[in-house]
């Protein structure tokens, strides 16, 4: 047995995204954001997208390019405070925003990746975020039912990938990536380094290859990936 090669070009990978698609994007702030995949999605121009990402990056970076180009209809997120455009578009009704507690967003994505239809939680039960969500009792204690999140495409940034799609993440760039890389029908990973089979140790893989469909090697990191001075 040998494992198949899933490397492809960034153009071919992003062409798998249809207009109106639901898309997860890894990253918490700069670390882990798939900036090059986002750039290619802006270039190809698919519109009417629903995005799921922890945050909306900052003005002029990452997801903000998709907002600026008008490709985004809806955003499920935890916090957009560093992106004035996202806040303005939300307030103007040009962008539908659903806020979710960060750990609950993580669990809803994980449930989608684990083939579970939803999660049970008491987080936010006493707040307006719980409004309209179904409640059940479990062991006599009330719990909210939150639906799982599963999407058409996940765009993932990895530090290292092998050609089969095993992925490893650097430091706090891991964040949502291993969860989102399980929760999409098509998973596209951009990697700073792509190594041959055997180049990642089996015990140090963060996302197993079977979850990943396409691997794109980044030629060089653009400045968006770098240190941000504020």
């Amino acid at each position: 047995m040998r494992l198949p090669d899933k490397t492809t070009t960034i153009e071919a990978a992003v062409e798998r995204i249809a207009p109106g698609a639901t898309i997860m994007l890894s990253g918490f702030g700069v670390p882990g954001t798939p900036f090059q995949l986002i750039r290619e999605l802006v270039r190809q121009g698919q519109g009417g997208l629903t995005l799921i990402k922890n945050d909306a990056n900052e003005t002029g970076m990452g997801v903000d390019h998709l907002l600026a180009s008008g490709q985004v209809r809806r955003l499920i997120t935890t916090h957009i405070g560093l992106n004035a455009r996202a806040v303005a578009m939300m307030n103007a009704g040009e962008l539908e925003v659903e806020f979710c507690a960060q750990g609950i967003l993580a669990e809803r994505i994980r449930a989608g990746g684990a083939g579970l239809p939803g999660i049970l939680t008491d987080i936010g039960m006493q707040t307006e975020l719980a409004e309209g969500k179904p409640r059940i009792e479990i062991g006599g204690v009330p719990a909210l039912v939150e639906t799982a999140l599963r999407v058409d495409v996940a765009l993932i940034h990895a530090a290292r990938a092998d050609v089969f799609g095993n992925l490893a993440y650097a430091a706090t760039a891991r964040n949502f990536a291993p969860l989102m890389a399980m929760a999409a029908d098509v998973v596209i990973a951009e990697a700073e380094t792509v190594v041959p089979l055997g180049g990642l140790e089996a015990e140090q893989v963060h996302t197993p290859g079977p979850f990943v469909d396409h691997v794109v090697a980044l030629e060089a990191l653009t400045e968006e990936y770098g240190i941000v001075r504020r």
Partner: protein, 210 residues
């Protein structure tokens, strides 16, 4: 039968081979065949089985066999392993069976009063693999058919089996029930029908042999 079942695996698939007969399918895959084998105790990219003197005490498959890794293998925990199964990333599983019904129901974990060691991971494999095929003897040790109009034993999963490989035949589960697709060399249609506990639809054309 095992060699025929091995041909069911298409290049690029992620496959889980159940304990027992299905595990033997491994021996019929060419060394450079592009496939990813999964074991539910936490490994993708299973390599060849190792003899005891070369085994790694920490590296087994779900059946307890000492296996190895290949370039590109990955280890993960049990939750991730079944996340892979339940979320549709397992293209094919090959399972053993006590009984298969003509609607695809599978019973392979419990014989009430006689054998109930538990369900293991088979239930999720049967219910969630994209394609479930069974590799089994056509009849049990007493000669009773395992392919039945309906299962008498407790189900593992309902309407899950697509195809059955036995020493006599390849049988598909179709909306109309069991359909004979191929027959073992030297076996007659009458023999297969007699060993099958439900109606067996025959193809209009000549039946291929394996």
């Amino acid at each position: 039968m095992i060699a025929r079942a091995a041909r069911e695996i298409a290049p690029g698939m992620v496959v889980n081979l159940g304990i027992g007969l299905p595990t033997k399918v491994l021996d019929h895959l060419a060394p450079d065949f592009p496939v990813c084998l999964h074991t539910e105790n936490g490994l993708t990219g299973i390599g060849p089985t190792l003899p005891y003197d070369r085994a790694d005490r920490n590296l087994i498959d779900a059946g307890g066999a000492y296996v190895s890794t290949i370039p590109g293998s990955a280890f993960f925990d049990s939750a991730t392993s079944f996340a892979l199964v339940r979320s549709g990333r397992l293209d094919l599983t090959m399972l053993g069976a006590f009984e298969v019904a003509q609607n695809g129901d599978l019973a392979n974990w419990k014989i009430p009063g006689k054998f109930s060691p538990g369900v293991g991971g088979g239930l999720e494999l049967a219910q969630k693999a994209r394609r479930v095929v069974v590799v089994t003897t056509h009849t049990d040790r007493a000669g009773n058919p395992k392919l039945l109009a309906e299962c008498a034993l407790p189900l593992t999963a309902a309407r899950c089996v697509s195809r059955i490989f036995t020493e006599l035949a390849v049988v598909d589960v179709t909306p109309d029930g069991f359909a004979l697709r191929e027959i073992a060399e030297g076996t007659s249609v009458a023999e297969v029908a007699a060993a099958t506990g439900a109606r067996l639809h025959l193809p209009a054309d000549e039946i291929p042999t394996f």
